[in-house]
């Protein structure tokens, strides 16, 4: 456990932790020492020489003072290093998450990682601040008492020592049987948490659906309850077992002590002192059951943390090559099941449009340029240099990306725009906003620039979010622009507005855009039609139309509807899709 802790924390923190543990052990030993002094003290008090007790009492008081001081030191050290570690671990996790490939964050992971990054770290770090001290004291103090017992009478000592392996065995057995139950419950907890989120987000649908989908959440809740019930039942034998061992040991000492005293083997006063001592040793041992459970919880959280931190981030090259220009090139790129031997190139300042049915790999193409994933085979080059050989920050600084689903951070509109270039002055921010027609939105909102956008930008409409994203990209002023179906979700007015912004964004830059409807597809220097991860057709818009292949069919299907609507004649409902020619 300590090893995992140290690995998660990194070497930098190893020393404070070892120091904290040393303080804790010292405090536990001091506590044991006070109990050891109990025997001679009681022997004098009960053995008919109470006047000889004073020196022993003084020694006892000194030992208690030492214990108090050491324990305070241990607590402080634990809290101090615990807090430093807490901060360090949070930061380390945050930095690590930011360096992991975006592809790692699947839908299933997002929930789990969010929990880990909040409450999980705290639980894992509570080991140091809250659990380690009591654990050390619950094990070291009874051992010290056993040592003292042995010093007074080896038979009693031996009987007490026999408990040690039994306690250890029970603890191990409990840990093992509980670990499986814990893991299962953890999975179910996450399942339930994901269901709760789903339930909350899908409320509109669930309500219209006549609430039939609610059983999904209820099933998850009941499974959590069932698993936790099994966990309780699984834990019971461990708790009972530990208590039984401790009580048996105490009974043995009681019987042996009584027999020895009655037989005259040891003085009555000594035996009574020894029994008081034995009673002292039993209590801390009994707390082990509870501590064990809490340690296990912390440990499993620590393991998860270790696992995430152990996931390799995107490799960063030692020697970073500097790209020359801003042309793009894919050479025989294969990625998972998505892209299969794709080769293409976009010259510096060129404009490539990617078209194809959904699932064709269009977005993946963009994401590979931004190195959200690394290719399985082939290479993606920007400025003639493989993206894997470039500094990731450097690469990102040369890309402006506008996604289809814009995710805004919960903050003001201004914060979100400024993300594009944090050091931009107000004039630059306002100019970018004006170019993206975001100023219209800002003027309409009562709080203007200070309007808070909500989690994910939920308080803005799709068109408004899109304008924020475009303003952000404009402000970034990067030489390479990647656009992913930017206007597909916009109404005519928004689309017209955003269109102007996009034109400004693309001017004079190397552009790759995934789009269907924009004039920009037609205006692109080059169009690539992607299907099933392969390039099916490639060329200029007019060439591809003349070719009369897939792209031409696509274009026809799209324009027929619009064209008939523009003509505004007759009832287009009656015409089957795509048959207007």
């Amino acid at each position: 456990m300590i090893t995992t802790l140290l690995r998660v924390l990194g070497d930098r923190h190893a020393r404070p932790i070892r120091r904290t543990i040393a303080w804790m052990v010292a405090a536990a030993l001091a506590e044991g020492l006070t109990y050891a002094l109990l025997v001679p003290l009681l022997a004098t008090l009960l053995g008919g020489h109470p006047d000889r007790a004073w020196p022993w009492l003084a020694a006892f008081a000194l030992a208690v003072a030492a214990f108090g001081l050491l324990r305070h030191r241990a607590d402080l050290s634990g809290f101090r290093s615990g807090t430093t570690l807490l901060r360090g671990t949070y930061h380390r996790l945050g930095d690590h998450l930011a360096r992991l490939p975006v592809g790692w964050f699947g839908a299933a992971r997002v929930g789990e990682v969010s929990v880990l990054a909040s409450r999980g770290v705290l639980t894992a770090m509570s080991v140091l601040a809250h659990l380690l001290g009591p654990f050390v004291s619950a094990t070291v103090t009874p051992l010290a008492i056993v040592a003292v017992l042995t010093a007074y009478d080896w038979r009693l000592g031996l009987a007490a020592l026999a408990a040690a392996p039994a306690v250890a065995m029970v603890q191990r057995w409990t840990a093992r049987s509980q670990a499986a139950a814990d893991a299962r419950r953890h999975d179910l907890d996450h399942e339930a948490a994901a269901r709760v989120v789903e339930y909350l987000r899908a409320q509109p649908v669930l309500r219209t659906g006549g609430r039939t989908g609610e059983h999904l959440l209820d099933d998850a809740l009941r499974e959590v309850a069932a698993a936790s019930r099994r966990g309780v039942l699984a834990a019971l034998p461990g708790i009972v077992g530990l208590t039984l061992v401790v009580q048996l040991t105490f009974t043995a000492l009681l019987v042996m002590g009584t027999a020895l005293a009655l037989g005259g083997g040891i003085g009555a006063a000594q035996v009574v002192a020894v029994l008081v001592l034995a009673a002292r040793g039993a209590d801390p041992l009994l707390t082990l059951a509870d501590l064990g459970g809490r340690l296990r919880v912390a440990r499993s959280e620590l393991d998860r943390l270790d696992q995430v931190l152990g996931t390799p981030p995107l490799p960063v090259p030692d020697e970073r090559a500097s790209p020359d220009g801003h042309d793009l090139e894919f050479s025989s790129v294969t990625f998972g099941q998505v892209l299969d031997g794709v080769s293409l190139s976009v010259p510096h300042g060129g404009r490539l449009a990617v078209v194809g049915p959904s699932g064709a790999g269009k977005s993946t193409l963009l994401r590979l340029i931004a190195r959200f994933h690394d290719v399985d085979a082939g290479a993606v080059r920007v400025g003639g240099v493989d993206v894997r050989a470039q500094d990731p920050d450097d690469l990102m600084s040369r890309l402006a990306i506008v996604f289809q689903d814009v995710y805004l951070f919960d903050g003001t509109i201004e914060d979100n725009v400024r993300l594009g270039r944090p050091d931009a002055d107000d004039t630059q921010v306002r100019a970018a906003a004006a170019a993206a027609r975001l100023d219209e939105v800002v003027d309409r909102l009562p709080d203007g620039w200070a309007t808070v956008v909500g989690e994910g930008g939920a308080l803005l409409s799709g068109g408004e979010r899109q304008r924020v994203a475009i303003a952000r990209a404009l402000l970034k002023d990067a030489p390479v622009v990647l656009l992913d179906e930017v206007t597909s979700a916009l109404d005519p007015v928004n689309e017209a507005a955003v269109h102007d912004g996009i034109e400004r964004l693309m001017a004079g830059r190397t552009v790759v855009l995934v789009a269907h409807r924009l004039r920009t597809v037609r205006d692109a220097d080059q169009v690539v039609f992607l299907d099933g991860g392969r390039i099916v057709e490639q060329g200029g818009h007019d060439d591809l139309l003349r070719l009369g292949g897939r792209y031409a069919g696509f274009w026809d299907a799209r324009n027929s509807a619009t064209a008939s609507a523009v003509a505004a004649t007759g009832n287009a409902w009656s015409s089957p899709p795509g048959s207007s020619t």
Partner: protein
């Protein structure tokens, strides 16, 4: 705590308390046995061996009873806790399923999910531990103290000195400033949780703008705030906590008892053997204070968690109709409808609109004009703040929920698929639909072939076995609405442009639905939809700016004509690209 929720569990609660009391009191037996053995052995004269062995046997029996009593109490307590937690969660889910959608949309999903998950779990100590622990923490010391007083009242008072010292420190821990820090601590944790959700969900933007790790600065800031608060809280508590711990620690208690005992023995005030019960039972007197200190954190955390639970449970749901009525027909009327999310900022400012059965009404207007809000009133996501919405002559507020959703279905921009099979997702509103019905709807929505390509066809679990693209999700939602087959359909075309099949599906859906007696309201994004609507309503700034047949509006040359022109330019079609645009 919520009495109504706990009442059914009263017998189990009683069992927990009684068993714990028996076990805890039996636990005194071995300690009393040691004291008695000591007294007998130290007494002058011959030792009564039979008495000694009887005491040993009684002590051992006491231990056994204690083991059985506490184990049974703890087991029952945890199982009870388990049942109560499930009941709480179900009740929260039911409550969240009935609050206005508007209330939900103003809250962070992560925080609400925390209420159902962690906050309910935080109640655990209240139920599983508190009853048992409180019993042993107060009953045992009480019985011990009474017994010790019978031995010697003066030494009993001395033994109580550490307890008094510790109690004197309790107000310091409960000081308002401490509680404020605790609240700040909780709030800081909440901020970490939401920033973590945001950080992880927005990872693509984090990457795209992550130069120098700036974009995840919010997470880092939340972390720093949290650790600062944590440190302040710990610092505030550490000194008092340490002093309290020391006062209650066995070595210190023993020191006090031994000092007092030594004085009294040397002065002959008590017999040496009388010191023994104090050494053995005296430590137990600290239990109530220790329990307060120890369980304090958990219990205050639980109390605050319960506060958050209450907040959700107390949120009034959209009121169900007092006198439910049945609609006749499905003519939709909006009369003087006003609505605002925040007081003082109206989004809809007096809308009058009649949607006749068998007609398609297209709503257009700039973003922020109130289009989305308007259509969300029909499935009663919100109630209007003024005016009324009626279906078949009945105000939506007088419709049973079931009747409402049998009448109105919708396909909105924000498509939410459940992590369930494709078939279940499509049949959400019609759980008893046959597979044939589901397939028919999927075919109409143009998603059937795509579903067959999935690993398990219609049994593929979405979000687990596979992820669907936005357009595909939209088509599943369309299939859902087609299967629901309600007389009123509300549709937002927003993602219709996602890809050609989706666009065709939307078109086919509208074509299939528009023929009959249906009332269709659509937020139009495509010119074709607008052109073919029976009525076009132009919304601006929360009021209807223009309305009428599309051709008339175009001819009138008003706002609608201007919008039309704008779209025309954006798409850039109609200038003959060799595809036969002019038919």
């Amino acid at each position: 705590m919520n009495a109504g929720l706990l009442r059914p569990h009263l017998p189990a609660f009683t069992a927990v308390v009684v068993l714990q009391a028996i076990g805890a009191l039996a636990g005194l037996a071995p300690l009393l046995a040691v004291a008695e053995i000591g007294r007998t052995l130290l007494a002058p004269g011959p030792v009564d061996q039979a008495h000694v062995w009887l005491v040993v046997a009684l002590g051992t029996a006491g231990m056994l009873v204690r083991l059985l009593g506490t184990a049974a109490s703890s087991g029952i307590g945890h199982l009870l806790d388990n049942r109560v937690q499930l009941a709480f969660r179900r009740r929260l889910a039911a409550s969240l399923g009935r609050v206005p959608i508007g209330w939900l949309s103003r809250r962070r999903t992560g925080e609400l999910a925390k209420v159902v998950g962690e906050d309910v779990s935080a109640v655990h100590p209240f139920i599983a531990h508190a009853p048992g622990e409180l019993v042993s923490a107060f009953l045992v010391p009480l019985v011990s103290a009474v017994y010790l007083v019978t031995v010697d009242w003066r030494l009993t008072l001395i033994t109580l000195v550490p307890v008094v010292l510790a109690i004197a420190m309790v107000p310091l821990m409960m000081a308002p400033s401490r509680l404020r820090e605790q609240e700040a601590f909780d709030a800081a944790m909440g901020r970490i949780a939401s920033s973590a959700v945001e950080f992880v969900h927005g990872i693509a933007e984090v990457k795209a703008f992550g130069g120098g790790g700036r974009a995840h600065g919010r997470f880092r800031t939340a972390v720093d705030e949290f650790t600062d608060t944590f440190l302040r809280w710990v610092r505030g508590m550490a000194g008092i906590a340490a002093a309290m711990q020391l006062a209650l620690s066995p070595p210190f208690v023993l020191l006090v008892v031994l000092t007092g005992g030594t004085v009294m023995i040397t002065t002959g005030a008590i017999a040496p053997a009388d010191l023994l019960p104090f050494l053995l039972l005296g430590l137990g007197l600290t239990a109530p204070v220790a329990a307060l200190g120890h369980g304090f954190d958990d219990l205050t955390a639980a109390r605050r968690a319960v506060g958050r639970l209450r907040e959700v449970l107390d949120e009034p749901p959209l009121p169900p109709p007092a006198h439910p009525r049945t609609p006749t027909g499905h003519r939709v009327e909006l009369r003087g409808v006003r609505f605002g999310y925040d007081p003082g900022r109206e989004v809809l400012r007096g809308i009058d609109l009649v949607l006749e059965p068998g007609t398609v009404t297209a709503v257009v207007g700039p973003s922020g004009s109130g289009k989305s809000t308007l259509v969300q009133l029909l499935p009663r996501f919100f109630d209007p703040t003024g005016g009324s919405v009626t279906v078949g002559g009945v105000d939506l507020r007088d419709l049973r929920e079931r009747d409402l959703y049998r009448t109105v279905s919708f396909v909105f921009q924000d498509v939410r698929l459940l992590r369930a099979s494709v078939a279940d997702n499509i049949a959400l509103a019609v759980p008893d639909a046959t597979r044939d019905d589901v397939v028919r709807a999927a075919r109409l929505a143009g998603v059937h072939d795509r579903v067959l390509d999935l690993p398990h066809g219609y049994d593929t679990v979405l979000g687990e076995d596979t992820e669907l693209s936005g357009g595909e999700a939209q088509r599943i939602a369309i299939a859902r609405a087609l299967l629901a087959d309600t007389p009123v359909l509300v549709l937002d075309e927003a993602t219709a442009f996602a890809d050609p099949p989706t666009e065709q599906a939307v078109r086919a859906t509208l074509a299939a639905l528009a023929g009959g007696d249906r009332t269709v309201l659509v937020i139009a994004h495509r010119l074709e939809t607008i052109a073919d609507a029976d009525t076009v309503v132009v919304l601006e700034n929360g009021v209807v700016a223009e309305r009428g047949a599309p051709a008339d509006l175009l001819a009138a040359g008003g706002r609608f004509a201007a919008h039309w022109q704008a779209h025309h330019t954006a798409i850039g079609t109609g200038n003959g690209t060799g595809n036969g645009g002019a038919r």
